[in-house]
């Protein structure tokens, strides 16, 4: 396994890119530790597949370098990079047995049969598919097929990185968490460097130690799941992570204070010096409470999600969502909302602009 360094990467699908919008990948500089679990998270078209293809060698970046440990692999072909990939749809040979499918990547590299046998059995044991080893892959259920695909990605112990490209998209929700936990367990046992690409926040956050959030070819934040949730550095991250996402409320800033709907809102800390075109308050629904006093609001919608209620209320013309485990008010009711000051941030032109008090 290897440490992966992406140094000053940029990529454009145009021959002569001239403006920022010409780049599918605008600028990227990061390094991933050997043995870490990482996720690339973002909506369709954010550049995550471009980045994945650059790492796997299907694309040569317009600018910059990729290093595996300290070796420059920028111009190496996929086959020369020693990587494994698991795709959205299971890639297995239906006519082969599960054993032969798992053994395929090893036999392809002329690994001796004794080693093949011990590796395949070890992986099968971890995946809990030992009893399927003798059966043909054709008859397997979709989730078992994807399990075997994962096993093929993990069976070699000489690879630099295992990449997963939306591996759970075709899997039923009730089986998703099983495969997710399986993958996490495998990571803990194998200590392989793993990169997981997805648009699904739950998958990214539950799998990775560190998540790279991308939007329109740019990395907007790199952080642990808790960091991304607690203190998004950009409104996009606030919106994208969390269900529902962060409330992003347009506000006025004057004299170092944030005014929302005519009222001064206490923020986590001082506002950074500077000017911007837009100012917004960011507060997660989890940190908005219904109280006896506070911002006046009228309930517009209540969704009972089972383990809690999502209450949407209008403050003036702006919608504010609140998550409550208590009994919820009814649509049309007048209520008061309070924001937890320690979790209330100011965003200027999308980027965080309050000083953290370290809380």
């Amino acid at each position: 396994m290897a440490k992966i360094t992406l140094s000053n990467l940029r990529h454009s699908y145009y021959p002569n890119p001239s403006k920022p919008d010409d780049y599918a990948l605008k600028h990227l500089d990061l390094s991933w530790e050997d043995g870490g679990a990482y996720a690339l998270l973002g909506p369709s078209g954010c550049g995550k597949s471009t980045l994945l293809n650059i790492i796997s060698g299907l694309l040569v970046p317009s600018e910059g370098k990729i290093l595996f440990d300290d070796k420059d692999v920028t111009h190496l072909k996929p086959a020369e990079r020693n990587i494994a990939q698991v795709f959205q749809f299971p890639v297995i040979y239906d006519t082969m047995t599960v054993f032969d499918n798992l053994a395929f990547p090893l036999r392809n590299r002329q690994v001796d049969e004794a080693t093949v046998k011990s590796r395949v059995e070890a992986i099968a044991d971890m995946l809990e598919v030992t009893d399927m080893l003798g059966t043909k892959a054709a008859g397997l259920s979709p989730d078992n097929k994807q399990k075997i695909s994962m096993g093929r990605g993990l069976v070699r112990d000489d690879i630099n990185v295992v990449m997963f490209d939306e591996p759970l998209t075709v899997i039923d929700p009730h089986l998703k968490w099983k495969l997710r936990s399986k993958l996490k367990e495998l990571h803990q046992e194998l200590k392989a460097t793993m990169i997981y690409v997805t648009h699904d926040q739950t998958e990214a956050l539950t799998f990775a130690d560190q998540v790279v959030v991308m939007q329109e070819g740019e990395v907007v934040q790199i952080g642990t799941p808790v960091e991304l949730f607690e203190r998004p550095t950009h409104t996009f991250v606030g919106h994208f992570i969390g269900s529902p996402g962060m409330n992003i409320l347009p506000c006025e800033v004057s004299g170092g204070k944030a005014m929302f709907n005519g009222q001064s809102i206490t923020l986590e800390g001082e506002i950074e010096a500077g000017e911007g075109k837009s100012n917004e308050i960011g507060i997660r629904p989890e940190h908005v409470t219904i109280a006896d006093n506070g911002l006046e609001a009228v309930v517009s919608k209540v969704s009972d999600v089972g383990r809690h209620n999502v209450v949407e209320a209008m403050v003036g013309g702006t919608k504010v969502a609140s998550i409550t485990e208590e009994s919820a008010p009814n649509p049309g009711e007048s209520i008061h909302l309070q924001f937890d000051p320690a979790k209330t941030r100011l965003y200027r032109d999308g980027w965080i602009a309050t000083k953290s008090t370290g809380a």
Binding site: P43, K184, T202, T206, V226, L228, F240, I241, E286
Partner: protein, 354 residues
């Protein structure tokens, strides 16, 4: 419009694929079919839409028997998981196609298409071809076609499954409003319990070709009729274990026991299966009445706002889901606390005990 299924069944290769099903589906709210892949959701939709023949039973639309009618005669719309649009036609023509087939006047077609396009924010894209649209816009086009057609029944078969997570969230919030007040019966198939809760309305839980429970979505979530229904309507999976009741005491194993309260105190002595949702199993003790249990942590997950831990309790796998960040050590024993007031009790045959 009402859509009524009276004891319909479907056979595949002689085997009963949809078991005898009776449902009365009303307009004005969503009718959700919730179940795993293979539970029979799509098969049931095909029968209702007239794409498949029932082996027995009858289907009534507004009281009229349509069992023998084909899809065209039933005046229905269908939106699939995969985006189905005519690639050679513009968005406008895609939305207009069923109206043209019906021979509607050009001016009326224009009015209906524009109204549907406005609702789905497709107005600026009316002249584009489907391949020039994002996945979300393609699915909006399919939905706009269903709306413009003003059919009696609209079947949405996992329409959001292939969309990005956030896009799914936005479109899901809009869907009930889009169809509100149109008088059509809307049937929505999903494999995600949370989606059913968010859509509200009524839900039919399905497993293995059976509708196991049907009713107001929030009600059947809070009041499962049997263990199967409780499991179908839970993600992460509901925790369950065999318990023995004797007098006031309910005992799960040598260490875990609690005092029967509420509904449970009325139960006769004997064996039951207890089921409790993961968010009522917490890593911290919230109230004295909560029941301590020690399990070996196997996997932990963190979603930013919530933590979950999968742990082994005897030979059962249990899940705890809680707000906030909790440090767990995988492989180590950890104490969890179950809220006994939110336990469901089932008889050994799976029926709710009450």
């Amino acid at each position: 419009m009402t859509l009524e299924l009276k004891g319909i069944t479907k056979r595949v290769d002689g085997r009963l694929h949809i078991k005898e099903t009776s449902l009365r589906l009303e307009p004005g709210h969503f009718n959700v079919l919730l179940g795993e892949t293979g539970a029979g959701k799509t098969s049931l939709i095909k029968l209702m839409a007239g794409l498949d023949r029932c082996a027995s039973g009858s289907i009534l639309m507004e009281g009229v028997d349509v069992t023998k009618q084909n899809t065209q005669q039933r005046n229905i719309s269908l939106v699939h998981q995969f985006f189905v649009n005519y690639p050679h036609m513009s968005v406008f023509d895609n939305i207009a196609s069923p109206l043209k087939v019906a021979g509607m006047a050009k001016s009326e077609i224009e009015g209906r298409v524009e109204e549907a396009a406005d609702l789905l924010q497709l107005r600026p894209m009316l002249h584009r071809r489907p391949h020039e649209l994002s996945g979300g816009q393609q699915q909006r086009t399919a939905l706009a076609r269903a709306i413009a057609k003003e059919s009696n029944a609209v079947f949405l078969d996992e329409p959001l499954a292939n969309l990005d997570y956030k896009l799914r969230e936005e479109l899901r919030a809009q869907l009930p409003e889009l169809f509100a007040g149109r008088g059509a019966v809307v049937v929505y198939a999903t494999s995600e319990p949370e989606e059913a809760l968010l859509l509200g309305g009524q839900t039919a839980l399905m497993q293995d070709g059976n509708v196991t429970q049907f009713g107001k979505t929030a009600d059947i979530y809070r009041n499962p009729a049997d263990l199967v229904s409780a499991s179908v309507f839970s993600d992460p999976p509901i925790n369950s274990a065999r318990v023995t009741k004797k007098g006031d005491e309910i005992r799960l194993d040598a260490h875990v026991k609690w005092t029967a309260t509420g509904e449970a105190s009325e139960l006769a002595d004997g064996e039951y299966d207890v089921a409790v949702r993961p968010h009522y199993v917490s890593p911290v003790r919230i109230a004295d009445r909560h029941v301590p249990m020690t399990g070996t942590v196997q996997v932990t997950e963190l979603t930013g706002s919530e933590s979950s831990a999968h742990f082994k309790l005897g030979d059962q796998s249990w899940v705890s889901l809680s707000q906030g960040v909790h440090p767990y050590q995988v492989g180590e024993d950890h104490e969890f606390f179950m809220d006994p007031d939110h336990c469901f009790y089932f008889l050994p045959n799976g029926q709710r005990a009450r």
